[in-house]
Amino acid sequence: MKNFNIIMTGVGGQGIITLVTILDQACLEQGYDVKSSELHGLSQRGGSVVTHVRFGKKVYSPLVSFGGADLIVGLELAETLRDIAFAGSKTAFVINDYSMGFLGYPAEQEILDNLNRVGKNRVHLVPAVEICKKELDKDVVAGVYLLGYAVKNNLIPLKKESFIKSLETVIPQKYLDLNIKAFNLAFKQ
């Protein structure tokens, strides 16, 4: 297998680093070499955050090359478009239908039009925040739901069981149940 490259993008405070650790651990559970890269500090204070996860037989660079993402998981609409340079002609997109506006934020429809023009039928727009709020009364697990969605739709070559094991390792006991529920929720729909 060729190395698999994931970009996860969003806004500081959305819990992206936790998603990175979940993905890393799931890769390890399945015996892959894995590397990821993340940023802390200033960029985390409500700024744009882009993280890279790469796995396969042997990984050198922790960074995904431009045009090299197999999957882009976007937790926020505009941020997904901001990091579009990582997308190639086969990239799949799992995008949280959620926006965090700021002064000068483009019209949502315009963002969606652009994403669809690039991603064509490979764009999965998922109302994860809405679903998690409705079903679990908590939107903080929207990212975990999106990972579940990607696994269910065969957009990540990793097994569901690897993720469950990973959650058990990575997530503190107190929040484990909620996270497993959010992950499984994607398989029920």
Binding site: S37, G41, S43, R45, G68, V118
Partner: protein, 557 residues
């Protein structure tokens, strides 16, 4: 016990230090090094290690020097700029040498993801200090090199610097590591030896000669060290790389289906010169892949000239000197040197809008939301606004835009004094609590002593927040979670001679407004301390008794 786990580079450094039997840890939090101290805070007690946050990197290093002289194995952690702060004691430390081994971790941030000030390449300090520098490229190497650093330090009685960068410190990957048997807290013994520990002249010059001889011996060691190694390839074109650049080079070679010989340097200083000569001898062209400054390229050029070798050496003529490298940049450089064509990565077509920059901003509920707008509204037109490092840097971003200069930790104090002395303009100078303790106090004393009149507003959110909530001297807790004194900024200010000092909760915006108006009229230094805990920390602590133990001292409000 041997374990394999996904670790952050910084966590791997902690594991390496534990495996090497570290006793004493100090440092100052910065990005991208802060998780080292944070992790020690969590695990120090159960591992028989003493760990603290120092008031600044200089004090942190000096504490470790005291520990080393007393026979304890020590580790100091800091970001790039920390080495500037501690350099005054770092240089004499190279002269005296260590007694028990010491490793110093310095984390650079190419591309300045989380750094104001400058894009610093701390490797330059190797030449100034004559201290060995190791340059890891992965979390596994963070672990291995930290352990090795302790070994080298112990063997040669010299501190060893592990220099990482953001993409190494904040890289996660599987690491194989050893967890040593539990040990008890160790007390050492200071055995007097002024001959070694005092750098008074004329002894200091003897020490310098001893150091230079020591570095020669370490260079011989580096020649044999496995962390400087050659891999693959039978081409006449070769690559020399170190740190994260090595990973980009390997990836680029794989993508371009090239098999070039690579010399990977684990040592940045001293360089294994003979190994380099042996590597470059059969080659016609060399490309040195390194981020920021071209230190290694210059060295290789000199080594080649000394050995009478004629070959082309490429570096910054094909690679950028600012910003971090990546696989694409290295691929282009290789293509240029090899005279090959490389297809640029396919950029997706069809994007018709540009997304404006999303500026970092104050968190929801941040007490600074109560402070910055009031300052902006009340300050007369033409007021000069001094800025300092920390969350209060946001004052320089929209919607606030009140920051007329920003330099280094504590620099607002000196610059504001200088502006105030040099003009008739009024200065309002902002600083956070952590930064005040780090290096604000000498500047404050200077302003009082030399009679200028800035209004200093301390944005005291009761924690060192920007770097991820580290304890500081103002909030009654230590890194390991023990209760301690809370040193009150207002007491310090009064003791420094500031006559007009007011402490208030910025929730009371009217009081803040009136005080600013009042103090703006003063002809002497004045200070307002806006005291209110960071909202993010407040939320983290809610219903979390485990965390409260590390942050809440019932004696302190």
């Amino acid at each position: 016990m041997i374990t394999r786990k996904v670790l952050l580079g910084n966590e791997a450094i902690v594991r390496g230090a534990l495996a090497a039997g570290v006793d004493f840890v100090s440092g100052y939090p910065g990005c991208p090094s802060a998780e080292i101290g944070d992790e020690f805070g969590r695990i120090a007690k159960e591992n028989g290690v003493y760990a603290e946050w120092a008031t600044n990197e200089k004090v942190g290093l000096e504490s470790a020097i005291g520990a080393s002289f007393s026979g304890l194995r020590s580790l100091v952690n800091m970001k790039s700029f920390g080495v500037n702060v501690c350099s005054d004691s770092l240089f004499p430390l190279a002269y005296t040498g260590t007694k028990a081994p010491m490793v110093i971790v310095v984390a650079d941030d190419p591309s300045c993801h989380s750094s104001a000030q400058s894009e610093q390449d701390s490797r330059g300090y190797a030449y100034l200090s004559h201290i060995p520098f190791l340059d890891p490229s992965s979390p596994q190497e963070c672990y291995d090199f930290t352990k090795l650093g302790f070994e080298i330090s112990e063997k040669f009685n010299i501190p060893v610097i592990i220099r990482s960068t953001t993409r190494v410190a904040h890289q996660r990957a599987p690491v194989v590591f050893d967890t040593p048997a539990k040990k008890d807290f160790k007390k050492g013994e200071f055995i007097k030896n002024p001959y070694q520990f005092c750098t008074m002249p004329p002894r200091v010059l003897e020490m310098k000669l001893e150091l230079l001889k020591k570095i020669k011996r370490i260079q011989t060691y580096a020649e044999k060290s496995a962390i400087n190694g050659t891999l693959g390839g039978k081409s006449k074109v070769g690559i020399i790389a170190s740190g994260i650049s090595y990973m980009y080079a390997k990836e680029a070679l794989e993508q371009m289906k090239l098999d070039l010989p690579v010399l990977k340097l684990g040592f940045f200083y001293p360089l294994p010169k003979e190994k380099i000569v042996k590597f470059i001898k059969p080659l016609k062209k060399i490309i040195v892949v390194e981020e920021m400054q071209h230190y290694i390229k210059k060295e290789v050029k000199a080594i080649a000239a000394d050995a009478n070798l004629k070959l082309e050496i490429f570096g910054k003529n094909v690679l950028p000197e600012t910003g971090e490298l990546d696989v694409e940049k290295v691929s282009f450089a290789l293509a240029k040197v090899l005279g090959k064509k490389v297809k640029p990565a396919v950029r997706v077509a069809g994007i018709k809008i540009e997304i404006p920059k999303r500026f970092p901003k104050l968190c929801d509920g941040c007490p600074y939301w109560n402070i910055l707008p009031v300052i902006k509204r009340v300050a007369p037109e033409g007021t000069i606004f001094g800025g300092d490092i920390g969350c209060n840097m946001m004052a320089g971003l929209p919607p606030h835009n009140i920051q007329d200069y920003l330099f280094s930790m504590g620099a607002s104090m000196g610059i504001s004094h200088g502006v105030s002395k040099s003009t008739n303009q009024k200065v309002i100078s902002l600083i956070g609590d952590g930064t005040f303790f780090h290096s604000g106090i000498p500047g404050l004393i200077n302003a009082v002593y030399n009679k200028s009149n800035p209004l200093i507003i301390v944005l005291d959110n009761r924690i060192t927040a920007m770097t991820g909530h580290q304890q500081n001297p103002g909030m009654g807790k230590t890194l390991m979670g023990d209760d301690t004194y809370d040193i009150k900024i207002e007491d310090v200010a009064r003791a420094c001679g500031v006559k007009y000092v007011r402490t208030l909760d910025p929730v009371n915006m009217k009081e803040l407004e009136d005080t600013i108006k009042d103090f703006m009229q003063k002809e002497e230094v004045s200070m307002i301390i806006c005291k209110h805990r960071c909202a993010l920390l407040e939320r983290r602590l809610k219903n979390n008794s485990e965390l409260q133990k590390f942050y809440t001292n019932p004696q302190v409000n």
